[in-house]
Symmetry: D3
Subunit: 246 residues, 6 copies
Amino acid sequence: MKLLVVTPITTPGLHVADEFSAMVDPDTEIVHTTLEVGPASIESEFDEMLAVPQTVAKIMEGEKNGADAAFIDCMGDPGLKAAREVVRIPVVGPCEASMHLAAMLGQRFSVVTVLDSVVPMFWNHAKVYGVAEKLASVRSVDIPVLELHQDPGAMVQALVRESRAAVNDDGADVIIFGCTGMCGVAREVQSGVGEVPVVDPVEAGLRLAELLVKTGLSHSKKTYPYPRPKSIRGYDFVPEIGEVEA
Amino acid sequence: MKLLVVTPITTPGLHVADEFSAMVDPDTEIVHTTLEVGPASIESEFDEMLAVPQTVAKIMEGEKNGADAAFIDCMGDPGLKAAREVVRIPVVGPCEASMHLAAMLGQRFSVVTVLDSVVPMFWNHAKVYGVAEKLASVRSVDIPVLELHQDPGAMVQALVRESRAAVNDDGADVIIFGCTGMCGVAREVQSGVGEVPVVDPVEAGLRLAELLVKTGLSHSKKTYPYPRPKSIRGYDFVPEIGEVEA
Amino acid sequence: MKLLVVTPITTPGLHVADEFSAMVDPDTEIVHTTLEVGPASIESEFDEMLAVPQTVAKIMEGEKNGADAAFIDCMGDPGLKAAREVVRIPVVGPCEASMHLAAMLGQRFSVVTVLDSVVPMFWNHAKVYGVAEKLASVRSVDIPVLELHQDPGAMVQALVRESRAAVNDDGADVIIFGCTGMCGVAREVQSGVGEVPVVDPVEAGLRLAELLVKTGLSHSKKTYPYPRPKSIRGYDFVPEIGEVEA
Amino acid sequence: MKLLVVTPITTPGLHVADEFSAMVDPDTEIVHTTLEVGPASIESEFDEMLAVPQTVAKIMEGEKNGADAAFIDCMGDPGLKAAREVVRIPVVGPCEASMHLAAMLGQRFSVVTVLDSVVPMFWNHAKVYGVAEKLASVRSVDIPVLELHQDPGAMVQALVRESRAAVNDDGADVIIFGCTGMCGVAREVQSGVGEVPVVDPVEAGLRLAELLVKTGLSHSKKTYPYPRPKSIRGYDFVPEIGEVEA
Amino acid sequence: MKLLVVTPITTPGLHVADEFSAMVDPDTEIVHTTLEVGPASIESEFDEMLAVPQTVAKIMEGEKNGADAAFIDCMGDPGLKAAREVVRIPVVGPCEASMHLAAMLGQRFSVVTVLDSVVPMFWNHAKVYGVAEKLASVRSVDIPVLELHQDPGAMVQALVRESRAAVNDDGADVIIFGCTGMCGVAREVQSGVGEVPVVDPVEAGLRLAELLVKTGLSHSKKTYPYPRPKSIRGYDFVPEIGEVEA
Amino acid sequence: MKLLVVTPITTPGLHVADEFSAMVDPDTEIVHTTLEVGPASIESEFDEMLAVPQTVAKIMEGEKNGADAAFIDCMGDPGLKAAREVVRIPVVGPCEASMHLAAMLGQRFSVVTVLDSVVPMFWNHAKVYGVAEKLASVRSVDIPVLELHQDPGAMVQALVRESRAAVNDDGADVIIFGCTGMCGVAREVQSGVGEVPVVDPVEAGLRLAELLVKTGLSHSKKTYPYPRPKSIRGYDFVPEIGEVEA
């Protein structure tokens, strides 16, 4: 199985392929890429709009190059719906994947994310994904994405603090990390929180992508039909939509 | 009052400034633009992602050039949230404006749009805008955007047919046109439907923009905070976010 | 444009026509009236029921006298639905108008009203108007309607205090004043609250009435059909429903 | 036990006290009244507003005269909330009572009422009463209230027809009559519909009133606080609100 | 009227028939039973599953022995749906009965129960019963079922404490006891809480059972059809389903 | 990985271990069991209650015997919540798993099940699982569980017929089989339906169980705490709850 991972920012090194490989089956091949066209990080709707076009283009190319599924490595799920329109392989976003997974693990879940600026986005995603009534709260650690790794101990400490508040004050039964940059510390945070599962959205999403490939399932082409071919200006990195695909 | 209208496609002539001017106060100045970078029309999430970056850029420029409000001339409301983050002037989308207006005019409303491919988008918008329980149905006339004006009589006939079905079969009390390309025929369609109001989303949105300017209201900066400044690659047409604005 | 404003109480002087005129277009004529039959103020469902019949009667008379739209100057929207049944001109209530407007300005809104006794009414209105999931909280300043103007400074101070609590504790992104008697201090309160819009429901409603007249839209006669003519006893101030109107 | 029944119209004879007595315990005394001030029948929000003031006045008087509970004999539940504010005895409306009862008897219920004009009211009531997701549909037999008894056979036939459609086409598991004028034919209609319960809202409401008196429960004075005393003009039949009651 | 009460645990003496008789009409005969097969008390889904089979069997036997209705004396409503499938007499659960009753008494209600372990169950019940939006909160006194009666004063004190918190902090307008073992102290607790009704779910349920018998109503056989007869192994105390009943 | 599968009926041979093994990773060991105590099949709440106790007991034993996860092979998810209380290993139900999976694949999903008698159960499950607004409809093929395999061709034909109706008439974008006895024909049905994914709930559930074991996640012990130890009568096949586990 070949699994394309698009980290939809132009900053290299936030994630490396080995981190993803450690989270999937031994025989799942990870193909990892970042963007040449886009924002340094994503912390707003404005940042996200800049990430979407090439993220989708990379997924189109990935399908042509034989990828069995694609994973978008950002909790905003940028380009998730657009990408599903232009490919047949499963496309997985960590927000959708982790929200549905968390919904199955307990009564209600909370998201602990980077900054207050993305809080409304999580509520809107929960509404569109159909799980809003399972979302107890969205909290932030108030650390920008690219500063998360400057002091991993401080990040873990902040995640524990906000997760405990989500459990004790907001009624959360499950915690989801609200940024893929928080990847890799779920067990550590869980030991500090106690009785509730802590979902790493990267792991949740990668495993869901594997699950979909193994079951042969992908998104509904009734919901995500191929776009009609038409002229596009100014996006030389976006492949054309052909007549045949529809 | 100066009102910027961005028709977020690269096809010229779908709308001209005079059409908008006819829908606003005599002393409201319309500044109209289309895109140089983007899709020929918008009929999918894929098309929409290509329209968003320059739509937002045009609105940023519009604010710098003295616009009092901006209107995005497409029922997908492309870039609405991102644009609100980067400006202080009101930004209005016709989908949000017409859904809330229709919600006030009757018990439930239906949207009659161009193609089945955008039906899920309207349901998702209604959820995020908070009016999903007022949405009775979304129907389509099965005519692509750029073919709407090839045979205006056929368009009106199809709009009447689907509007009647929405009223009689789906329980709609109000009709909203689901594409800004249908602009200008609301009264004609209404006379064919009968007892229910037919909302032209362009008129609704332009008038809402005027209303906001007159009341001095704009979007909440708590919901739409300024993005943090950061490096962007490959979008030379997008202005930089400065430190001062936040 | 002629705009009828009914202040649905018998106390004169809470509002004068000039206050309304200052909130509308220069060429919009305000016709203002209070009630001869009704309560001194409205702070309960009991008070409201006493205000409704003559409010509706005044709007029926207003339509006959050439009004282009009617505005009910009370946040309970007393008589809104009944009035829409008996006239064709747009009838606007400040609660409905400001809730839908606020819903467009930010993620969630709070209402800050006069007394705890009307808190359930706002929740019920939000449900019927279809925006309950956008309503973060309803708070009160604990000042009766007719005492609001005794100490305007105290009123503003209380509004700022409760608005801040709504923003910080309840998650509000937008504030709506919960009584039309609070009219005129939105900017002052906003400067004390900070980053969130403060909606004056009188201004919102008057401007919406203008918008509807300008677009030619009014309520759906499918939702609000003319009542069947029938005998009425004891309300000599209520016009008869004629056969012709239906 | 003394149970006040207010038939909130001025037309005598639609219901007589014996009909109510046949539906309650032998030792429950029925005190029945109609209105001197109000509409001939209720088929609109307009009609309803005319019924509310004296309905509430009659309930206030009833409490003073020793009634243990009050029942409002109209499916619009006119004055239900206002009456609860001004008395401590339980006040029951047939719409609220039958909707909650039906919700307990099966998965979803439908209302079969007189005219299309009151259909939106039932949806709004279901929202405010908190049972909207249990409401499958609202249908009408297209017979005005005061014509229901002109041809009882035709009424039953129409009720059977619409009830069957509700069950087979709309997914109803329980039927509620949507007008108290349909009182007394539930068993007949049920035998024509088959496997689903048919709720007579008059019987449901009267029995609920008895239940409340027997359990000593009444409405929450936190939700329905006594109105503050104030001057009222033009309603000589409405008792004054005294200071002591609050 | 003969009313079967099943206390679905094997511990004798938690309730005795006289307690139930004191809550119903003088001529209502109470037939009370506990279980021989089941748990000592119910404080989890695990306990509940052990209570259900014989509870349902007892209700089947009760119907054969002439009971007019059955009441399940546990707030988990164990076996409510299964029992309704296999009998025609009304089957009442105290959770469903008290939630719908409370929904009619005020804007929102809270449940005060024994232990945190059953809190999610109440939320799930409210969702299935269709009244989730009326449920303000679920709180616990942290006393196991079988210890409630060891110190009745402490139980009342704890109920008052949590009920006050529900009213003041969670917005409750009505309180429901969350365990039938709390039966009998509603008035005492109410006097300590103040302005909100306190619903004893045993009394609510018994009175609802009487109401249903008197109206001739029972659950919908469309929602609760007779099970198809089939072989059952290992439950010698469960009667066989016969062909004739369907 | 060792995966326990409990087919919660006493009828042998509906499923054999090899069918499950074909749906999981090669190195996942399937341990399959049916019940000695329970119903021949599950087509009602009554049947389900008889299946739950030993299903839960088998899962408790499975955990003691080293199972890494458990799968309940019935779309009613019998015992899912009770089992989660008494074990720490993940317990997966096919209904919950397939509903959340389907929710991620398209806008709305429909369930096509065996008999009308289980239709309400699916709606209730969707409410409790938090995905009710994604459920378009529940349809049945009108074939009892134990007759599904008598004529596999007829079963497939009926599944195609009802799936097409769900897509065309009810607005479904994804189909879920509503009985685990329909296992194995998803691809065949999909080819007859066209553009929408068809989810086999057995495959979905087994793959979700694997996913959970691989990620180290399991249900929240805050939602599903260990039951308090107490005496149980009449269930010699149910292990005792020990003090230590909590």
